[in-house]
């Protein structure tokens, strides 16, 4: 019986994945190959010029592309760790069986993750306007004397973006960590408590090491998400009449926004846009590999 199955095993494997392969092939791989082909052309709307690797060479001299990569690297280095760290702390606190109102806190903290990207960006833009809610509150609480130029200053606009993204995604990551924490038996924590280890020690000595695989997973997901960042900077940077730069001094310019602008706002050059996309894919792969490597070595 089992042997008979072994023979057809391979066949069944393909049967089960066939539907998804058809869909992915059609709607992801085919467009992907087509855009790889396009990336060797410089296009102007309907007109195409073969340029070989010209687009890829152009990337390295394109200040705005380089700036867009720098911008997301800043987000990667600052926002992602802050967010994941907060998510870890919240997950750790909510994992305590003695805590009351756990469900309420968990739901509240996760809530931002169900909001639509467009909607929350619009709401944040309004809250962070110079005379908006946030500045008003901070001034009433005497934390600041002058209004902060949230979206008017290259530095603060990045801070705003970081705050917005952290609001939107911390709960989501917290949920993943919470799920992971269910695998760590409570006895470990109880034993640690008896040994006199405080909450802080438990967090660093038990939670973080044991959650490592999930931390790696969320880091990679966040990295990919950050590299494709689009809706938030687009909405936050919309200007008075045109939105000439993407945030003050293009401080919110991301590769995806740049791809969009090159394709649709500027003279449409889909070939160059495709080349930028491929570069982003390459950067994503490299960063993911590095993250795997770092996590692996620490083990």
């Amino acid at each position: 019986m089992a042997n008979g199955f072994e023979k057809s095993r391979n066949k069944w494997g393909w049967v089960f994945i066939s539907l998804s392969i058809i869909f992915i092939g059609l709607f992801i791989f085919y467009p992907l190959i087509y855009s790889l082909y396009l990336s060797f052309f410089s296009t102007k709307g309907a007109m195409k010029n073969f340029v070989g690797f010209g687009n890829y060479k152009r990337l390295f001299q394109d200040n705005y592309f380089i700036l867009s990569v720098k911008n997301i690297l800043v987000i990667l280095v600052i926002q992602v760790p802050i967010m994941l760290f907060l998510a870890l702390i919240f997950a750790f606190l909510l994992n305590d069986p003695k805590l009351k109102f756990k469900g309420v806190f968990r739901t509240a903290l996760f809530l931002p993750a169900v909001s639509s990207l467009i909607a929350y960006s619009v709401v944040f833009k309004m809250m962070f306007s110079s005379e908006g809610l946030i500045n008003n509150m901070l001034m009433k609480m005497h934390i600041i004397k002058e209004p902060i130029r949230w979206l008017l200053d290259p530095f603060w606009s990045k801070v705003t973006l970081i705050i917005a993204m952290t609001w939107r995604w911390t709960g989501y990551n917290m949920m993943l960590y919470l799920a992971g924490l269910q695998n760590i038996p409570q006895e470990i924590y109880e034993a640690a408590e008896i040994d006199g280890a405080g909450k802080v020690a438990q967090f660093f000595k038990i939670t973080i090491p044991l959650l490592k695989p999930i931390i790696l997973f969320t880091t990679i997901l966040s990295t990919i998400g950050t590299l494709q960042l689009f809706d938030e900077p687009m909405m936050l940077a919309a200007g008075v009449t045109t939105g000439s730069s993407v945030g003050p001094g293009n401080s919110l310019l991301t590769p995806s926004v740049y791809i969009y602008n090159v394709s649709f706002k500027y003279v449409p050059n889909f070939g160059y846009a495709s080349a930028i996309s491929y570069m982003i894919v390459i950067i994503s792969v490299i960063l993911s590999l590095i993250q795997f490597k770092v996590a692996g070595e620490e083990k």
């Binding site: 392969i21 467009p31 509240a108 609001w167 695998n183 590299l227």
Partner: protein, 270 residues
């Protein structure tokens, strides 16, 4: 005593975090009850304009039609995406082979592609299938979800192989094992997957934007984007639309929350 202080501290931290998380929602709802001017001023208290805003949306903008389109899109994406992705996850996990592992790797890699890069080819493809300006043109490309395939595969790792073996001994076909034994016993996983698929399809913006051409087929996100643009946007109206768009996701989340947590749980077990 020390413990008490620690817990007070924890409660304070969590309360602040919960407040920050919920506050923008509160403000959004307040906005939907106010006039455009008041939304601009950042008014924090409820007004009396909700009905006016709502009626305006229903009567002048055909809100019902827009909602119905979004519901259809999300419904079909959720159903098909769950079937297709869970089958794939099952196939990759239960029938491991070298060839399929390479395919799996390639599939995971596609997560790294920004959608903006695929827009023109996808449009071309859809026009080939004659699906421009149809809801199916929006639905079909959203069915393959790499994340869901990954998610289901992770979850199937927990599934006791003995049950499958036993069913095989009983002579059940592979498809039957999947559909009538495995699937019904993974409710939590499917619930979590459903929430994920619903959120992505309900909030999708670029995808429908590329495909939909006429007023009668547009979805909620397109509608909100249109409302918020122009020379004189009415922000009370925008906020009302945003609230209405957010409601279904909230309801679904609260209804399935329990399963959702369990489903996520399964995905990260090693």
């Amino acid at each position: 005593m020390k413990r008490k202080i620690t817990y007070t501290f924890i409660y304070i931290i969590l309360t602040i975090a919960a407040f920050i998380s919920v506050f923008p929602f509160y403000w959004m709802i307040v906005g939907s009850t106010n006039k455009s001017v008041d939304v601009n001023k950042g008014k924090l208290t409820f007004g009396t304009h909700f009905l006016t805003n709502f009626k305006n949306l229903v009567n002048n903008y055909n809100l019902g039609e827009v909602l119905w389109n979004s519901i259809q899109v999300s419904f079909f994406v959720v159903v098909f995406s769950l079937i297709v992705s869970s089958m794939a996850g099952y196939g990759f996990e239960m029938y491991k082979s070298k060839g399929r592992n390479y395919v799996y790797g390639a599939v995971l890699l596609t997560m790294m592609i920004p959608f903006a890069a695929l827009m023109v080819p996808v449009f071309k493809l859809m026009s080939f299938f004659n699906l421009i300006d149809s809801l199916w043109g929006v639905i079909l490309p959203m069915i393959p979800s790499v994340f869901l395939i990954f998610f289901f595969r992770q979850n199937f790792q927990q599934y006791p192989k003995e049950i499958i073996m036993a069913a095989r001994v009983d002579g059940a076909s592979e498809l039957r094992i999947f559909f009538s034994i495995v699937m019904p016993s993974m409710k939590a996983t499917y619930a979590a997957g459903a929430i994920y698929a619903f959120l992505t399809s309900w909030n999708a913006y670029l995808q429908p934007l590329v495909i939909i051409q006429t007023q009668k087929n547009r979805t909620m996100s397109l509608f909100i984007a249109n409302l918020a643009s122009g020379y004189q946007p009415d922000f009370g109206l925008v906020m009302t639309a945003v609230v209405i768009a957010t409601l279904p996701t909230l309801i679904l989340f609260f209804a399935l929350q329990k399963h959702f947590v369990q489903g996520i749980l399964g995905s990260v077990k090693q």
